[in-house]
């Protein structure tokens, strides 16, 4: 691509959602001179076979992303204490407890529901 072409065309990121209720997701990117053109190109380049409920196009240079250095801010220590997955054992505990109750009442001749 020569210098004048690269100034004329811009990269557009294409977002779409499959149904009215689903969230927008990044689909593809394409080259176009402006947003209107990007939109009609996006429709036929990426959605001529699959169904789509809505399309967004965004000029890539209008997206504020992270550079390599800035991605450092995403790093973190292990902090299990902030997550609820520590309670994952509860389900099993309940199951064991219920099973125990059921078996006990059965042996005693009840139906297991106190009625």
């Amino acid at each position: 691509m020569n210098e004048s072409t690269s100034e004329f065309y811009n990269v557009y990121e294409v977002f779409s959602k499959k149904t009215d209720k689903s969230p927008f997701q990044h689909s593809f990117s394409l080259l176009a001179p402006n947003a209107d053109m990007a939109l009609i190109m996006a429709k036929e380049n990426f959605f001529r076979r699959e169904t789509v409920a809505d399309i967004w196009v965004v000029k890539r240079e209008n997206i504020r992303g992270l550079n390599q250095d800035e991605r450092e801010m995403l790093k973190r220590l292990d902090k299990q204490y902030r997550e609820t997955k520590g309670y994952g054992y509860l389900k099993k505990k309940w199951r064991d407890y219920n099973q125990e109750q059921f078996t006990e009442q059965h042996i005693l001749g009840g139906r297991g529901d106190n009625s």
Binding site: L31, P33, N34, D36, M37, I40, M41, E44
Partner: protein, 268 residues
């Protein structure tokens, strides 16, 4: 109206109309397909090819309606007729420019945008009327085609408006293309020699009504992009609805049917 309730005179008129609708889409879709690999950039190449495929599908729907009316197999209708049996408007058969898609194509993008945009506007008006056609199978086909036509019109309208408001070179090329298309676009806007029977049977609106809608729309768009309206489009090289055609149609049908004609009995 259904196939069984058509009177002979109505049936003749309906068949004429269906050939016009089918052949218009068929020829312009073919000219579009010749652009494959040659469009201004890759995204447009994909989009335009997809539109041409859609239009070929629309022609197929109409050819199937003709098959139902006893005109023979749809494939044979499309491939084995002689040029004088075609009913498309002359401007739609015209080559894209000098050269062929195999040898030194020097195609004219401005001409393609103008021709396709003007045609898409008319096709939209025509389908809008056909949706209420008295011949139910045709109304049904029109409703189906309309779902895809919306995008086709939007696509060409954006191209047309953007090039008409772009660089001096673009505006000049577009202006020349408009003048060229204008000389023969009247052929698209006519219903041909069976016009009265076609309208009397309520297969479609009066051509004068649709012509007016087209002229109003194009006049408004030209005004919007700062161009002047050149008056009613003409029909200088004759009326394709009468079977009058140019050498370009012969070239188109010969290429289109090259494979099919080698052995029409084979399932391609």
């Amino acid at each position: 109206m259904t196939q069984e309730t058509l009177k002979p005179q109505e049936k003749k008129a309906l068949i004429e109309l269906l050939y016009q609708l089918a052949d218009d889409d068929f020829l312009l879709a073919f000219r579009g397909s010749e652009w494959l690999g040659l469009a201004p950039h890759i995204e447009e190449d994909v989009a335009f090819s997809s539109i041409s495929q859609d239009m070929m599908g629309h022609a197929n729907l109409y050819y199937n309606l003709l098959e139902d009316l006893g005109e023979g197999e749809a494939d044979r209708i499309a491939h084995l007729r002689s040029p004088d049996q075609f009913r498309n408007a002359i401007i739609l058969e015209e080559v894209n420019g000098p050269g062929t898609y195999l040898k030194e194509p020097d195609y004219d993008w401005a001409f393609t945008v103008v021709r396709n945009y003007f045609y898409a506007v008319h096709k939209h008006i025509r389908l809008d009327s056909l949706r209420h056609s008295s011949y139910e199978p045709l109304a049904e086909a029109a409703r189906k085609i309309m779902t895809e036509q919306y995008y086709h019109l939007m696509h060409w309208e954006i191209w047309f408006k953007q090039l008409m408001t772009s660089t001096d070179e673009a505006i000049l090329r577009m202006t020349v293309a408009i003048q060229k298309v204008w000389r023969d676009f009247g052929g698209v806007l006519t219903l041909g020699p069976y016009y009265e029977d076609i309208v009397k049977a309520n297969f479609i609106d009066d051509e004068n009504v649709m012509k007016k809608r087209w002229n109003n729309k194009i006049e408004a768009v030209l005004k919007e992009v700062g161009a002047s309206y050149p008056g009613e489009p003409r029909m200088e090289r004759g009326n394709g609805r009468n079977g009058v055609h140019t050498e370009d149609l012969k070239q188109a049908t010969a290429t289109l049917s090259e494979v099919y004609a080698t052995n029409p009995a084979t399932g391609w």
